[in-house]
């Protein structure tokens, strides 16, 4: 097999990795806000349950979470698993796992906003939702961007975990090629794909940080 064919196959795997990446962000970025707010709820039981959820998501391997979510419908509800199940289980596991990490980053950002910002908004008559959306959130985004960058870059590499459940993303393809071609080149190419993509992620994060650089507090 020539390099071009290998590149072609790895690129197809890469597109699958990117889908996991994109769906996870689309799901976990907003879900994380909900989790963060529940984590800071005034209702104690809501706080406890959310803490437990975050603790399990962070304290157990993502790989096991994928298996748990994949097999749960069968063992709990007796639903027959299909070929699509793996894909859905992967996306759901990634979203709920990353939402937990994002939630803790959001919480640190939200709690770092000075009390006075809330008080100023309250006296001016902003509702709680208006205060959060228009006063707090924009400032939180600026503060958490570096920490979020870390997670997003980790996510790019974590997509390779989907290989364990049998989703044909880039790492699975690379492993198969290494075995069949008796060559380490596919691993090297896969590494290059991850790194180049993360390089782009770093650039985008850099641009975002620069855009929010117009003020400090």
């Amino acid at each position: 097999m020539d390099i071009a064919t290998m590149l072609q196959m790895l690129f197809e795997g890469f597109l699958v990795s990117m889908q996991i990446f994109a769906f996870t962000l689309i799901g976990a970025v907003p879900l994380g806000i909900v989790v963060a707010l529940l984590r800071m709820s005034r209702v104690a039981p809501v706080r406890w349950i959310t803490r437990l959820y975050i603790s399990i998501m962070r304290g157990t391997p993502l790989m096991l979470q994928m298996f748990a979510i994949y097999f749960a419908p069968y063992y709990v509800f007796g639903i027959q698993l299909t070929t699509d199940s793996k894909w859905y289980a992967t996306i759901v596991a990634f979203i709920v796992n990353y939402a937990a990490y994002f939630a803790e980053i959001y919480r640190s950002g939200i709690q770092s906003i000075p009390r006075g910002q809330y008080e100023a908004a309250e006296v001016l008559g902003y509702s709680r939702v208006q205060t959060f959306v228009h006063i707090v959130l924009p400032q939180v985004v600026k503060r958490i961007l570096p920490a979020m960058g870390n997670e997003v870059i980790t996510l790019v590499k974590d997509t390779s975990l989907a290989f364990s459940i049998g989703v044909a993303e880039m790492f699975s393809t690379a492993r198969a090629l290494v075995a069949s071609q008796v060559s380490m080149a596919p691993f090297a190419i896969a590494a290059a794909f991850y790194w180049v993509f993360n390089f782009l992620v770093e650039m985008v994060l850099g641009l975002l940080e620069k855009r929010l650089d117009y003020y400090h507090d």
Partner: protein, 260 residues
């Protein structure tokens, strides 16, 4: 002038206000009524209850006992020694009666000067943006902030930031404006800038309650001075009486410490 004051009802009336944080009684029966156009200065030592008084008046803290009303609107009623507040929409209406200028400005750092001034009138009061911006331009000029419209707070001096926060409060057209030690974070030069603006507002008959440590300023601008200590109003009256000829020993002791 005095006949007008007697006829009109007070802008804000607080009666028998009590507030404790745990065992610490910060307000121990404070009553205060402010007439339209009146400027009241509140002086006194730290921990005497001045800031808590302002925080209760601005609904940032709730009273344990006592009543509070803004104009015709009864915000908090005392029922058997316990304060009951009105609910959501009326509380929101109550907030339209006053503005507050904080010691640390508390401007929104991610917004420009113009956005800081116009955001609440547009978003909270649902007023037309064009009309609000026109008014904001006038406020910017009045506060001596021309050329700062598109700057963000971190690009301004402390004095400028405090003037923006006064403009932000005035943009809501409050009936009474509260100041919580508005110049305590400023050096003397910047203090003078801010005090000049407040004096101009007093000259326009803006109703104001000002917590301050600037005795010269209080004497000059206030129609009435309150000396607070230990959670009560120890002494009140015209500035020349309270500041220059205090009757109470505690007031004298406080003022003599200041002049040392």
């Amino acid at each position: 002038m005095s006949t007008i004051k007697q006829q009109s009802s007070p802008v804000v009336a607080l009666a028998g206000a009590r507030k404790a944080f745990g065992d610490n009684e910060v307000l121990r029966g404070v009553s205060l009524s402010v007439d339209p156009g009146e400027v009241v200065a509140v002086i006194g030592p730290s921990g005497g209850g001045k800031s808590t008084l302002l925080r209760c008046l601005t609904l940032l803290e709730t009273l344990d006992a006592g009543s509070l009303s803004y104009g015709e609107l009864s915000v908090a009623r005392d029922e058997g020694g316990k304060t009951h507040y009105v609910k959501g929409p009326e509380l929101k209406r109550a907030r339209e009666h006053f503005g507050l200028v904080f010691q640390n400005y508390n401007l929104f750092p991610h917004m420009t000067v113009m956005q800081n001034i116009t955001d609440a009138p547009v978003r909270v009061q649902k007023r037309q943006r064009a009309e609000v911006e026109l008014e904001a331009q006038a406020l910017v000029a009045k506060m001596g902030l021309e050329g700062c419209e598109n700057k963000v707070p971190c690009q301004l001096s402390g004095g400028q930031q405090q003037r923006v926060s006064i403009a932000r409060a005035l943009a809501m057209n409050p009936e009474v404006l509260y100041f919580d030690e508005p110049t305590s974070a400023l050096d003397p030069e910047l203090t003078a800038e801010v005090l000049r603006v407040i004096k101009a507002l007093a000259a326009e008959n803006m109703t104001m309650v000002i917590v301050t440590h600037e005795m010269g300023f209080a004497r000059e601008v206030a129609d009435r001075v309150l000396f607070m200590d230990g959670g009560v109003i120890v002494e009140e009256g015209p500035a020349e009486q309270v500041i220059d000829h205090p009757r109470e020993a505690r007031t004298r002791a406080f003022l003599s410490h200041l002049s040392e």
